[in-house]
Symmetry: C2
């Protein structure tokens, strides 16, 4: 796993530098919105979605530098979803990653707008990826559709809606599957597929990444739920709030032990899907293992 | 103006039918979000932005049927901005067009998500416009950038931020110009330009439409402010709330009479910009006049 750690550190640095360059300066008028956007984007995120986008390009034999605008866009879109999910009218979380959430610092109205602006700028960055040499406008249009579907009402937003509706109600395993497949899995899969499509991947490669993405997305969410209960609050940067909110979670439905087993089974399936890529799949394979081993 | 009325009626019907077809059915899971989206989209809007997109294509000699997905997308994006603007944390409006606002019917959390989903689906529809014969992926990518810029922090969202910051403060003419140019003008201009670009307009045509759009956008906003004070509340479907909210408006800065004169001057400039189009500009010219004559 040492090579994975080095890989993640390297990619995160590249992504952070690119994000700094892409995002508007804080002094650009109106300053407060640009400040609010940067506050949440640079709040210590793992940059998992950008890394998946870059790795998705590389595993198909492409140059990941070509997909950097889209990789950054996926982080902005992820950040938008966190800001809106944390709002008092939704999950009502005051802290994330150890810092006060956007609405606590900038007020609710500005937090809504910061999320809106990050989502919008995300789409702008993806469209702008067409200006990079070797990237076709056709592939950019396809990626825009894949990402929009992945985060729309049949994807991420649909998962958040189902999550809100399930809170406080009787737990059902089927509902739980729907929520997490949509709320987390869709954007993770879209991230992998975007990187692949922009470097001209074959349909069989895209298919394999979809399969891999769905499974690591599932593992990721189960581990998130488990960490909310057993994790180190300091490492997580937040108190576990799922139980307080009576949230529909994997441990609530299956118990802790079976939840962990389900995460391991998903990781095994994800790694199997990487078969078509041969040796190139080393990073993604290690990333799948990391999904269940992470502590925050 | 009779021909304009017939033109608007015809186009609105086409746009409404297309919107019905594009939007997910209410019964599609999770139903509540699709219900909330349709509730606000079919709330009696004037469909001004779609009409401008279609007319923008036609004035450049293009077939407006080809830009219908983008025309509808612009209405979805406009609707998203209204839902979020009406939220308690922003303008806190309980009624719009005579009906309770989204958050009054579906709750605040769902209203935030309905707006998010409309914005996202708007971008999906624009990307999907590339599948229509005769529309190039290159032009779709350019339109996506134009729209995203027009509604981002240097456009519509920036205007909303400045508007929130100006509420209750000392009025300044310069600030007022910034707010309205961004809050309303940017999306109106983007609508015209989008239609033109998708049918392969020449740069000089795009430039003329930008000039026209900025001026009718200004006229539109001044008249909005004026109607908030002198308009028929029944026709408007809302009570005038700008004065209650101590909003920075044109009448507040210039008084009613000078505001009306400024609107007329902007309309004259807009019509002048249409010179390059000759006879084809008949609709857009009449639309400019309509901007100052409208009662709601």
């Amino acid at each position: 796993m040492i090579f994975l750690k080095a890989y993640l550190t390297k990619k995160r640095k590249l992504v952070d530098a690119a994000l700094h360059g892409f995002l508007e300066k804080e002094k650009t008028k109106p300053g407060v919105i640009h400040k609010a956007m940067r506050y949440s984007v640079f709040a210590g995120g793992k940059r998992l979605r950008p890394v998946l986008c870059l790795a998705g390009a590389e595993v198909c034999g492409g140059n990941s530098a070509r997909v950097m605008p889209t990789a950054c866009a996926l982080e902005l879109i992820h950040t938008y979803s966190l800001i809106h999910d944390d709002l008092p009218a939704m999950d009502d979380d005051d802290f994330r990653r150890g810092r006060p959430t956007s609405h606590k610092v900038f007020g609710e109205g500005m937090a809504v707008l910061a999320g809106d602006a990050l989502l919008t700028f995300g789409f702008e960055l993806i469209a702008g990826n067409a200006r990079i040499k070797g990237v076709s406008s056709e592939s950019v249009v396809r990626v825009l559709e894949v990402v929009a579907k992945g985060i729309g009402t049949l994807g991420m937003v649909g998962g958040q809606v189902a999550d809100m509706e399930a809170s406080g109600k009787k737990h059902s395993a089927r509902e739980l599957g729907f929520i997490h497949e949509h709320k987390t899995g869709s954007l993770i899969t879209a991230s992998l597929v975007s990187g692949a499509m922009l470097v001209g991947a074959a349909p069989s490669q895209v298919k394999a990444l979809e399969n891999y993405g769905e499974n690591i997305g599932l593992a990721f969410q189960i581990v998130d739920d488990v960490l909310d209960i057993v994790g180190d609050k300091k490492l997580l940067g937040k108190r576990g709030s799922d139980q307080d909110n009576n949230k529909l979670t994997f441990p609530a439905v299956y118990g802790l032990e079976l939840s962990k087993k389900k995460a391991q089974a998903a990781v095994a399936k994800a790694k199997k899907a990487l078969g078509v890529f041969g040796e190139r799949a080393k990073v993604l394979s290690a990333l799948a293992d990391y999904m269940v081993e992470r502590q925050n």
